[in-house]
């Protein structure tokens, strides 16, 4: 998106056009403003509405976006009920990922055995975002399931959650999986070691050492060795601004 001095010197191209086309009118049923002003109780009521047509998806989607910012544990059951809805589940996950209450973690964990395929991967990814350490055991089991994409997502989630227990599960899986799943498990283990570096440096270094073995997939093995070297050199990113010159 380069912008040159000659391209738009006065900024007259309006936001309501693109490629010479004028933006179509927004239908009344697709306007977000009124829904965004509702309180949590009214938003929860929208989540319970029937219908799967676009207008219903829109109302629930905007309600979820708002609950992502203001929702409490009161809205968790209604959001969890949408995790099996293909079009709405991602909106519900957006809210569940951000509600700062253990009820959201529990709802996501309880959804794991109820879902399959993409819907299940979505929930796994949300658990990954929340780094829910109580989900280690069910995630570990999913690595050995029939769906390789689910297994890969579970391995990466374990890596993101990290910690000694996650590392142990991933190390075990490296000896019991093959092909694409094993590659994802190795990637998850590398992620796990990286995340552990600030919380459990010795554990992280031990995992990196394990990942430097000759039988580990090459890309992960090489990076594990690099990260070991970087850790030994105590490379640390400064986060404060230097004084002005």
């Amino acid at each position: 998106m380069q912008n040159t001095g000659q391209e738009n010197p006065t900024g007259k191209k309006p936001a309501s056009s693109a490629g010479g086309r004028v933006k179509p009118e927004i239908p009344a049923e697709f306007k977000a403003e009124l829904i965004e002003k509702l309180d949590q109780t009214a938003l929860i009521r929208i989540l319970a509405e029937h219908g799967s047509e676009p207008a219903a998806v829109f109302r629930k989607g905007i309600a979820c976006k708002r609950l992502a910012v203001i929702g409490t544990k009161e809205s968790v059951p209604s959001l969890a009920a949408l995790l099996g809805d293909d079009r709405v589940s991602d909106y519900a996950r957006d809210a569940l990922e951000l509600i700062p209450d253990p009820a959201a973690d529990q709802a996501l964990r309880e959804a794991l055995p109820k879902l399959k395929g993409l819907l299940l991967i979505g929930v796994i990814n949300s658990i990954r975002r929340r780094r829910d350490s109580k989900a280690l055991e069910p995630l570990g089991k999913l690595i050995y399931g029939e769906d390789a994409a689910v297994a890969g997502a579970a391995a990466l989630a374990l890596g993101e959650i990290s910690g000694s227990a996650a590392a142990k599960i991933l190390q075990g899986a490296l000896g019991a999986t093959a092909g694409a799943v094993r590659a994802d498990v190795a990637g998850g283990a590398l992620l796990c070691a990286d995340r552990m570096m600030t919380e459990n440096r010795e554990g992280a270094l031990a995992l990196l050492d394990f990942l430097s073995r000759p039988d580990i997939p090459g890309n992960v093995r090489i990076r594990a060795m690099h990260l070991q070297v970087a850790a030994a050199a105590s490379l640390k990113r400064p986060r404060t601004a230097p004084s002005p010159k």
């Binding site: 951000l98 690099h226 601004a241 230097p242 002005p244």
Partner: protein
């Protein structure tokens, strides 16, 4: 650069130039093999730049739009006088090719971070157009992924290699302005890109056949919504929709805030305080402060070309920046003109041509691919400048002053703001 697994058919007779024996020729093993993902108008500028080089080879295009795939293939095949450019609808197939060293990602921005991370995990180096992320969390995940995988990342913030911008930054960093006090970043004009995009939807239209345009894959990490052809219109039909676009601050701030962070010696951090002014759909600004005391002013570009009474900012073309110290100031923008305070007139060129800025930026990337060093717009720098932009966006959307802790990467005592640091990605995408 990788010998094994090359997909292109080997010629029956190998010309000397292919073996690197002719003066100036580059052997295939020394060429950086590049592919494109989502090449539209902006991506075409990068492709045309790459096609001029002897040490690169463009071999494949991936796009959810059949028409775009065919346009790029035609361009590439005409340039190389063969029919070797491969077309893919899905990035997984392209990223699985072991002969490809690097990818150009020029999709709409909501795809940028997930695709970049996916490419890094596939062992590819990445040149990605800006904005590079849709949230603070994506910004951090992007930088972490490239550090962890050891891949090279260059953000499409080519002004970091623009001679006029670099001159101004050097002036700020070497004390020519005295003690640096304020840096100004021109952000997207509210007329084109309001700071807060719309959460509304356009009316539903029938989806085109999947082989013509795969709407589900176009949406990618964004939550589902019905198809409307306006969204996929070239020239930015996806702009100004909340799920697809980061708003005006990110639109140009990804360039100009990025330059200001460099000038302020803040490439490794983010501003710590954010004070929004103005309203969506009107002139706006966000006044920020770094922990070293330097002020950062983001202001929309609606006043381009006009002298503003409040702060004397000239406005020198799009993406202009201004750096003020206690002994002088410098200002520049697209087009290459440089304006300075009276005391610097003897030192400063009136103009430095920016005609080669994209070439400079690409050569920086190509050389870093070869040497495995970090380019000017690397993932860490892009992450940090994008976090400053996202934090400003959140302050503007909430309409209140926010304080940011760069070490913890969280807002101080503001739970609502902290819940705006990330967005869920649609299944199965993740960063």
């Amino acid at each position: 650069m990788k010998a094994a697994g090359a997909v292109a058919a080997a010629p029956m007779i190998v010309p000397s130039a292919v073996l690197g024996q002719r003066a100036g020729a580059v052997a295939p093993s020394d060429k950086v093999v590049i592919a494109g993902i989502g090449i539209g108008g902006r991506g075409m500028a990068s492709v045309n730049t790459v096609l001029r080089y002897q040490d690169t080879r463009f071999v494949a295009i991936c796009d959810v739009k059949k028409q775009r795939r065919e346009i790029i293939k035609k361009l590439i095949d005409e340039r190389y006088q063969n029919s070797d450019c491969m077309m893919y609808a899905y990035q997984e197939e392209l990223l699985a090719r072991p002969d490809i060293d690097a990818v150009i990602i020029a999709t709409p921005e909501f795809w940028h971070a997930p695709l970049s991370v996916q490419a890094a995990h596939a062992g590819k180096d990445v040149f990605c157009e800006k904005p590079c992320s849709m949230s603070i969390q994506e910004s951090r995940a992007l930088a972490d992924a490239f550090r962890r995988t050891g891949r090279i990342y260059q953000a499409g913030t080519q002004r970091r290699n623009g001679p006029n911008f670099v001159w101004a930054i050097e002036a700020a960093r070497t004390g020519k302005l005295g003690k640096l006090q304020t840096v100004h970043a021109n952000v997207g004009t509210y007329i084109m890109w309001p700071p807060i995009p719309s959460k509304d939807w356009l009316p539903e239209e029938p989806e085109p056949p999947k082989e013509v345009l795969d709407w589900d894959r176009w949406l990618g990490p964004c939550p589902w919504r019905p198809y409307n052809s306006f969204y996929v219109t070239g020239g930015g039909g996806w702009n100004n929709w909340y799920d697809f676009h980061g708003g005006g601050i990110l639109e140009w701030g990804s360039h100009t805030v990025d330059l200001c962070q460099w000038a302020a010696d803040c490439d490794e951090t983010h501003a710590v305080e954010y004070v929004p002014k103005g309203a969506n759909g009107a002139p706006y600004s966000v006044h920020c402060t770094y922990s070293n005391g330097i002020k950062l002013v983001m202001r929309d570009g609606n006043n381009l070309g006009k002298r503003l009474p409040d702060d004397g900012w000239l406005g020198m073309g799009s993406c202009s920046v201004r750096f003020e110290g206690d002994e002088g100031w410098v200002e520049t923008g697209d087009g290459g003109r440089i304006a300075v305070s009276d005391n610097l007139r003897g030192d400063a060129p009136a103009r430095l041509s920016d005609s080669l800025v994209l070439h400079n930026h690409w050569r920086d990337f190509i050389e870093c691919i070869k040497t495995r060093s970090q380019p000017r717009a690397n993932a860490d720098r892009a992450c940090n400048s994008h976090i400053t932009c996202h934090a400003a966006f959140i302050a503007f959307e909430l309409g209140r002053r926010l304080t940011w802790d760069p070490a913890k990467e969280e807002f101080v005592n503001d739970a609502e703001a902290n819940r705006m640091r990330s967005r869920a990605l649609r299944k199965p995408w993740a960063v």
